[in-house]
Amino acid sequence: AQSVTQLDSHVSVSEGTPVLLRCNYSSSYSPSLFWYVQHPNKGLQLLLKYTSAATLVKGINGFEAEFKKSETSFHLTKPSAHMSDAAEYFCVVSVGFQKLVFGTGTRLLVSP
């Protein structure tokens, strides 16, 4: 069965420093993987997606993620955090291009 594990429930960074949000996946075949962001009292927004093309995926707002099959990982990174990046981030795997299975989420805190 497809699943994702987000390794950190909370990550705290200072503004201007790099961001790393970790995600490992489990899938019996080549997965489609996504990162979504949820700002407080807002809906979910798609940050980026991996669908078996390039392993380094660039998304919106300077975020990117690298698909590493050997490590079954899909970590989300950003070179320099901004205050507006503070939000909840979800790593998500697609099941047969239909259902989505969400990770437990990582809350990113950005301090001045």
Binding site: S32, F34, Y36, K42, G43, L44, Q45, L46, K49, T51, F90, S94, F97, Q98, K99, L100, V101, F102, G103, T104, G105
Partner: protein, 115 residues
Amino acid sequence: SAVISQKPSRDICQRGTSLTIQCQVDSQVTMMFWYRQQPGQSLTLIATANQGSEATYESGFVIDKFPISRPNLTFSTLTVSNMSPEDSSIYLCSARLAGDRGEQYFGPGTRLTVT
């Protein structure tokens, strides 16, 4: 992409009553879904809303509690029936476009509080 709206955005309801949430998509989509997000938790899929047929429910969710309709390719409703405080959650609608490899677009959610 698709733009999804939901009504109501929030509601406070009494125990034992029912609430119907509406979801409207700005284009025809192949699949629509309903999720629940309990306070401080991740999203859990309730069901897939099938156009013209009965919804497909995930384990732990039943039609009597969460009846779903999908009369056409752009609209769906979710009813939360006989509510209890445990039903207090955010309910989100999503849609997948034909040809997309799994990504879904989400509505803003309906924040439900049951007293």
